[in-house]
């Protein structure tokens, strides 16, 4: 107390100092809970808003439709129906069976498919959460089933390219570091099983009969994907069963006009089971959803509608395909599959056996577009272009100039279902739906070809070659399935047994060392 009296001010000062030290922390620490400025927090989804489920479904379709330009060529370039033209080194090397795991296109294609697949999982996981609160849970089941079909289709492309691949099971990719590689057979079986799971939840209609997503996925799409997977597995009875059900439904028919099937009139045709949809919405400018068709277009042309753009000239039907078609006396299928340049026609004719050609072999198309250079100069890239990916300039919405704007991209059509059916039957499968002869002849009739009797596997594969040139590598996968790979040694190419699968992309090998040499 003595001290206090002597030095009261000092004591108070000391006390204050100490109090300051003690109190300051308590008042300041609460600020640590202050939110960060300008950070929009992701609000929790309200899963009772069932109507939002539909946008998750359309979002999945958007992923499916947003097919990057390099993916389709990587899937399809190796067949004897098509050559890589242009200056894309990775593509022309792949066409000649010289693979390099550093090719950017391999990694990009891998990611294009898998990125979709992981996001499909994310969408399906969200839909499951909605399902709990949905007044009509079967709606969620149907949407999930549709996404399963999309996922299966992309898995099928992956295993076609790489053989053994990883099967993701959720949107969380961390577990994949330790996921073992599934063999090609396991992946194909998985696809088939997934389709079995999906079938019962899908609408029993032709895609263009759907009202909510017109042209979307139906039960028949799932059956077709199941057939494709089992065809790769050579489980022919399953192929026959799945295709037989599609045929037996009577829902589909071949489009009478093969030429227009691949153009605007063929959009959402009764023939299509799976189709990537694009549109310029009939507007001369503004919003436009489009596939990059310029890849396929001739890089020199004189369009009937002046100002319409050409393309890159990267996708060139092979001379082998053209001569095969001429030999068969094909008409509308050849005309629809190939755009000829003057230089290309001269090259065909330089072979005395083809000195005279049918009139439709012309550098002017039915719609009046003149393909390639008209002077005597050589065409810088392709001398033929893919007619399957051609949109005549007179079908462009006025005001639109980009090649192929407003054109859809057909993925699976009824002709393939018929010919898969035939293929299964000639391999010994049974079906009540249709005979092999009937199936093949239905396709031939539309093409203006005479009927065959007692079709063999050779007949079926030739028919597929003629019908599906330039489409989805169908020809290549047919040839390797039956080990008829000597067909691939055309125009100086040499295919060897280990060329069936392309190498895993280096970038993926680095993250997923278990890929090793599994393909």
């Amino acid at each position: 107390m003595m001290i206090m009296k002597k030095q009261p001010i000092r004591f108070l000062a000391s006390l204050m100092a100490i109090l300051m030290v003690a109190i300051a922390p308590m008042s300041c620490d609460s600020q640590l809970d202050e939110p960060l400025e300008r950070q929009v927090l992701v609000e929790d989804t309200d899963y009772t808003q069932s109507e939002n489920m539909f946008q998750l479904l359309t979002g999945a379709y958007e992923l499916l439709y947003a097919l990057q330009w390099e993916t389709f060529p990587v899937v399809s370039v190796r067949g004897d129906d098509v050559n890589a033209a242009g200056d894309q080194f990775p593509l022309s090397e792949t066409d000649e069976f010289r693979y390099d795991r550093s090719f950017w296109m391999y990694n990009s294609s891998w990611l294009n498919f898998y990125d979709d697949i992981i996001k499909f999982h994310a969408a399906m996981e969200e839909l499951l959460r909605y399902k709990e609160f949905a007044p009509n849970p079967s709606e969620a089941d149907q949407y999930i089933a549709e996404i399963k079909v999309m996922r299966a289709f992309e898995m099928l492309q992956l295993t076609r390219l790489w053989g053994g691949v990883l099967i993701p099971t959720s949107s969380q990719t961390a577990e994949l570091y330790t996921t073992p590689v599934s063999t090609r057979e396991e992946v194909l079986q998985h696809i088939s099983d997934q389709m079995d799971e999906a079938l019962d939840f899908l609408p029993n209609v032709r895609p263009n009969q759907r009202s909510d997503v017109r042209g979307g996925i139906s039960r028949y799409t799932a059956l077709a994907v199941k057939a494709l997977a089992n065809l790769e597995l050579k489980d022919f009875q399953k192929v026959a069963d799945a295709t037989g059900e599609i045929i037996g439904s009577g829902a589909f028919n071949l489009d009478a006009d093969f030429y227009e099937l691949f153009k605007i009139p063929g959009k959402l045709s009764n023939e299509n089971l799976l189709e990537l949809q694009y549109s310029d919405f009939g507007q001369s400018s503004g919003e436009n959803e489009a596939y990059l068709h310029a890849f396929f277009g001739p890089n020199n042309w004189t369009p009937a509608v002046a100002g319409s753009s050409g393309g890159w000239g990267f996708w060139e039907p092979s001379m082998k395909f053209i001569k095969f078609m001429l030999d068969r006396g094909e008409t509308v299928r050849l005309e629809t599959s190939v755009l000829f340049t003057r230089q290309g026609i001269e090259l065909i004719q330089s072979d005395p056996a083809y000195a005279t050609l049918p009139a439709f072999v012309s550098n002017t198309t039915r719609d009046g577009d003149i393909i390639g250079r008209t002077d005597s100069e050589p065409n810088p890239r392709a001398i033929f272009s893919s007619g399957k990916h051609y949109l005549p300039s007179n079908q462009l919405t006025p005001g639109r100039t980009a090649y192929g704007t407003n054109k859809n991209f057909i993925v699976i059509r009824y002709a393939e279902v018929l010919l898969m059916h035939a293929e299964a039957l000639v391999n010994g499968a049974n079906s009540a739906a249709m005979t092999a002869d009937q199936a093949v002849n239905e396709v031939r009739a539309r093409a203006g070809m005479t009927a065959l009797n007692g079709v063999t596997l050779d007949n079926v594969l030739d028919e597929k070659f003629a019908e599906f040139g330039m489409e989805w590598g169908i020809r290549f996968y047919d040839l390797v399935r039956y080990d008829r790979t000597s067909e691939l040694n055309h125009d100086g190419r040499t295919y060897s047994a280990d060329d069936r699968f392309i190498p895993y992309p280096l970038a993926q090998l680095d993250i997923l060392p278990q890929l090793g040499n599994n393909n």
């Binding site: 001290i3 000092r10 000391s14 006390l15 100092a17 100490i18 300051m20 030290v21 003690a22 300051a24 922390p25 308590m26 300041c28 620490d29 600020q31 640590l32 960060l36 400025e37 300008r38 992701v42 989804t45 946008q55 998750l56 359309t58 979002g59 379709y61 958007e62 992923l63 947003a66 390099d100 550093s102 891998w110 990611l111 898998y114 990125d115 992981i118 996001k119 994310a122 969408a123 969200e126 990883l166 993701p168 949107s171 969380q172 990719t173 961390a174 994949l176 570091y177 017109r214 042209g215 949809q277 549109s279 919405f281 009939g282 919003e287 959803e289 970038a507 993926q508 680095d510 993250i511």
Partner: protein, 1015 residues
């Protein structure tokens, strides 16, 4: 949290009790004079303290003092900077005269550490201190620049642009974000850079190199801590007015030689490119043929010569320091100005600084002080593209071209008129761009110190406030290059930040017997707020030009660029509890520890604990110690934890991306779930182990400091690639190790009474290594063409590509190269092409043959310093260098993207032109082939250099008279900064911060004449 508070109170209550135990007693008076043993002159300003009390005084201008002491038992402590401290017991004396001897050892020197000071001899950690007199030797706007080559383990990468701060790395790179810059603490305030301070404002710079020293700064300390103490006054010091200034010129050094018109023409024709040959033809037609060599166009532009100038630099500082028995003050004003090396454009830096520091003792127990530092700078940045274009502009193009009449407002030439792809002429960027930054900084500090128990327990509260404002205005003028019209534009941005730190801490000192203890406990609060706006407008009306700067406003722009308008802001809070304990037993055993508990609102991880522990053993104090000539020997070691909160926080969650698609020709919305997201919820943490030796030998003439450290960073934020998905995400997963050995040796002595000299050297090694990347074995950086890769076990972001093995001289060499004939054929290899090493021997050069080619971090940095003084003349010289760092010569690499440009003379004259002509460079045609453009060690060059850093001669005039009146102490100084640099790299400068030399500002030599007058 609660626990910490409780223990906090416990400590406080103990201390509070101690505060009450104060008593008073009888007094006697002592007087005397203090002189220097050097010259016998009186020493003013010597501090005299009654030991173990706060009582004390200082000597007056005549060296005398008067002091009341409690009793004859009292011990007086005489101390003065630069002199050995003396203690004497008063006894029954009333007059005590003292002669003080200069202290050539620095062991007793006080070192600034976090929240206090410590004597050099008591340190257990690696702290380097650089003082004012060494800092001002370097003519620069940037104080940190003056440390180059002086402190082992601190790498300074100079920057030549006016006002640009150098890159500072303390013990390597442990973070991939925010430049891994150290924390700067200026009188208690935290900064990311001290570019606003004038070198003459700084008293000392302390670099806390190891974790034991810096851990008290917790979550901010991971990249090292630099403590800056600004200048202050002294007790009982007569007002001292000092002028310190210099004027000098900057001269670009090692200017790169580019091909002249003749070399270029020869090269262009040798490429075999028809296009390039036609451009030469066009030049003949437009500009005629040279009369000396008719095969060369009659233009020979040395573009570097056209754009470079010698540029002045000056600094003037006036300060007044002083104090009486209760007050110390220091007031200063300084002006720095630097022009850039580019002519015909605004390229300069100007800065005006004011500072005031005031401390006064309210009573013998309470002192209050404050300081204010105001810095105002204007910086004009030249368009960086100038450096790029100057390198590439073809020499057959003149600066001005009368025939290019469509070019307005000036008739500049345009390479497009000759057929080249771009206009090439760098004068478009010089003349038609103006980029101004106005930077204002205001730093204030207020503090009070209160002795709760004199000499034992004191309390300090310090509040620091910093306000800064950066105002950017970039204007592009309207012009035509004769081919294309460019519209004018203006972009303005305004960013302000307000930061505050409030520190409160208690310091307790106790001596009992041979034990002595210092304890600090405190709390620190921090808030950082910044916000800003930016906007861009196009097509100013009237057209902007340099004569009408007053009309450069957004309001006069015809269009406002919608995407170019925006704002930003952030508010970060931090709270920290910290404590420090230092224990010393008999000056033999030292123990040291700090703990900091840091909280913030930036990360999900709110709180973190940072410990450190250090120990020292002074062997030389042991009785058994008998090493001859060793006066002092200490072994020390420390371990500690540090954090780096400089990484950008990101706490993601799956997001929904809205998309649109077409269904049946209808536009339909869709939602895509993006399941991946960035997740950086924590700071980066570092653990460091440091062991070191401190020794003084040969009567303290030789000093030695040596340290070995291992510094491991965990949770470093990196961008990782997830399997099977395209989106890359940031995660706190990487581990990085920096380790190295540092040593500094100094010898100083005098010969007779006139000669003083000292010689010293230091070096530091650094080994930077990626320890882990959270799964993947590597992460790519850089561009696809110039790959950099962080590989586990290799340095961060190492250059990665093929190793060359000479040039193929003939077809036989190609055939016998070991490459498969298929590969040779496919790749189209010809004589004159690089031979790449087939690392895996598979006969094919592909991705598997790529190897690490080098790192941008040096393995070795070193410095040497010499100083000699004889009577009034002082001479000092500093040298420094680096070894083992690589530079990517991106200028040579640019040929991948643009072929029709000039190349450097070294390359042009040494290209392969036939068998045996070159084993280093490919043929002219080969330069343009993809094969030779692959990332290889051709592009990655050795950046090692040795530099004469600073030569300085000064002449001192003291005690002289002019016309009978005494002349003030004056020093005249000549300085040559960076006069010579030796290196092999084919570029302007071997100092490139990130190792990628694309458009680096050259680093000039500076020659100055300086004057220092003390009134």
């Amino acid at each position: 949290m609660k626990k910490t508070l409780r223990s906090y109170f416990k400590v406080l209550s103990v201390l509070l009790l101690c505060a009450l135990a104060v008593e008073a007693s009888a007094q006697t008076v002592v007087t005397g004079t203090v002189r220097s043993s050097d010259d016998g002159l009186p020493l003013p300003g010597v501090s005299i303290l009654v030991k173990s009390t706060l009582k004390g005084t200082s000597t007056l201008a005549d060296g005398t003092y008067r002091l009341e002491v409690p009793s004859g038992e009292s011990i007086l402590v005489f101390s003065f900077v630069g002199y050995t401290t003396q203690e004497t017991q008063v006894g029954n004396r009333s007059q005590i005269n003292v002669v003080m001897a200069p202290d050539i050892s620095q062991l007793g020197e006080v070192v600034v550490i976090g929240y206090g000071t410590q004597e050099q001899k008591d340190l257990t950690s690696a702290i380097a201190t650089v003082k004012s007199e060494d800092i001002v030797k370097t003519p620069t706007a940037q104080a940190m620049q003056s440390l180059q080559g002086k402190v082992p383990g601190v790498q300074i990468v100079s920057s030549g642009a006016p006002g640009a701060a150098p890159t500072v790395r303390i013990r390597g790179v442990g973070s991939l974000e925010s430049n891994a810059a150290p924390l700067y603490v200026v009188d208690g305030m935290f900064f990311d850079s001290i570019d606003f301070l004038n070198t003459s404002d700084i008293e000392t710079i302390s670099i806390l190199k190891d974790a034991a020293a810096s851990a008290i700064y917790g979550v901010r300390a991971s990249n090292g801590v630099v403590l800056i103490t600004t200048k202050g006054g002294g007790y009982n010091q007569a007002p001292k007015v000092t002028y310190d200034g210099y004027y000098g010129v900057q001269v670009a050094q090692n200017v790169l030689k580019l091909s002249n018109a003749e070399q270029f023409t020869e090269y262009a024709l040798a490429t075999g490119s028809a296009a390039d040959a036609s451009f030469i033809q066009n030049a003949f037609q437009r500009f005629g043929r040279s009369r000396i060599n008719p095969n060369v166009p009659d233009v020979n532009t040395d573009w570097y010569n056209e754009v470079l100038q010698t540029a002045p630099m000056q600094n003037h500082a006036i300060s007044v320091n002083g104090g009486n028995e209760t007050t110390r003050y220091s007031v200063g004003v300084s002006y720095f100005q630097q022009d850039g090396l580019l002519r015909d454009t605004r390229n300069e830096y100007e800065r005006l600084n004011f500072r005031t520091k005031l401390d006064f003792d309210v009573s013998d127990r309470l002192s209050i002080g404050g300081n204010i530092n105001i810095s105002n700078a204007t910086q004009y940045n030249a368009e960086n593209a100038v450096w790029f274009k100057t390198y590439f502009a073809v020499p057959i193009l003149p600066v001005y071209d009368d025939q290019n009449t469509a070019a307005t407002p000036f008739g500049l030439s345009n390479a497009q008129t000759l057929g080249y792809r771009g206009s090439q002429n760098p004068f478009y960027d010089l003349l038609y761009d103006d980029n101004r930054n106005k930077i204002g900084k205001f730093l204030a500090n207020f503090h009070f110190d209160y002795d709760i128990i004199p000499q034992k327990l004191s309390f300090r509260s310090a509040y620091n406030y910093s306000f800064s404002n950066i105002n950017v205005r970039n204007v592009d003028f309207e012009y035509s290059d004769g081919v294309t019209d460019f519209q004018s534009s203006i972009r303005r941005s305004h960013a302000t930040s307000y930061d505050q730190i409030w520190d409160n801490y208690l310091t307790y000192k106790e001596n009992f017997g041979l034990h002595s203890l210092t304890a600090v406990v405190g709390y620190s609060y921090r808030s950082e707020t910044n916000e800003g706006l930016f906007a861009r407008g196009t097509e100013l009306d009237p057209f902007p030009d340099r004569s009408m700067e007053e009309l450069w406003y957004l309001a006069l722009a015809d269009g406002i660029d919608e995407g170019g308008v925006g704002d930003f802001g952030s508010r970060i809070f931090g709270a920290s509890y910290f404590t420090r304990l230092a224990y010393n037993y008999d000056d033999r055993y030292l123990l040291y520890g700090t703990f900091r508990r840091d909280g913030n609102n930036k990360f999900q991880q709110k709180w973190g604990n940072f410990f450190t522990i250090g120990a020292g053993w002074v062997l030389s104090e042991e009785e058994f110690f008998s090493m001859p000539n060793v006066d002092f020997l200490k072994i020390r070691g420390g371990w500690g934890q540090l954090g780096n909160d400089g990484v950008t926080a990101a706490v993601g969650a799956p997001t929904i991306a809205p998309r649109f698609l077409a269904i049946d020709d209808q536009r339909v919305p869709g939602n895509v779930v993006i399941p991946t997201f960035d997740f950086v919820d924590r700071w980066e943490t570092t653990e460091e182990l440091n062991v070191g030796v401190t020794s003084r030998m040969f009567k303290e003439r030789l000093s030695l400091e040596a340290d070995y450290f291992v510094r491991d960073t965990e949770n470093a934020a990196v961008t990782i690639i997830l399997p099977l998905i395209r989106d890359n995400v940031r995660r706190s997963v990487a581990g990085i190790r920096n380790s190295g050995f540092e040593m500094a040796l100094n010898w100083s002595d005098k010969i007779g009474s006139d000669w003083n000299y000292s010689i010293g050297g230091n070096f530091a090694t650094l080994n930077n290594e990626v320890l882990s990347l959270g799964g993947p074995q590597y992460l790519d950086a850089g561009s696809a063409e110039f790959r950099q890769r962080s590989i586990v076990g290799q340095p961060l972001q190492a250059f990665f590509g093929y190793e060359t093995d000479g040039i193929f001289q003939n077809q036989a060499e190609i055939t016998n190269s070991g490459y498969t004939s298929e590969f040779i054929n496919d790749a189209g290899i010809e004589p004159g092409d690089f031979r790449y090493k087939d690392q895996n021997g598979d006969g094919v050069i592909d991705d598997a043959d790529r190897v690490v080619l080098g790192s941008y971090l040096p393995d070795l940095t070193y410095g040497l310093n010499l100083s000699v003084s004889y009577k009034n003349i002082d001479l000092s010289a500093n040298f420094q260098g680096q070894q083992g760092h690589s530079i990517l010569n991106r200028k040579r690499g640019e040929i991948i993207f643009t072929t029709d440009t000039n190349i450097d003379a070294e390359l042009a004259t040494n290209l392969w032109t036939g068998e045996g002509t070159s084993n280093r460079y490919p043929s002219a045609a080969g330069l343009r082939k993809g094969w030779n453009q692959s990332m290889s060690d051709y592009f990655v060059e050795d950046g090692s250099y040795f530099r004469v850093q600073n030569i300085r001669v000064s002449y001192n005039l003291t005690g002289k008279e002019i016309l009978g009146t005494p002349m003030p102490d004056t020093r005249i100084t000549f300085t040559a900064e960076r006069p010579l640099t030796f290196f092999n790299y084919n570029g302007f400068t071997p100092e490139v911060a990130n190792g990628i030399d694309r458009q680096t500002y050259p680093i000039p030599a500076v020659y100055t004449l300086g004057l220092n007058i003390k009134f």
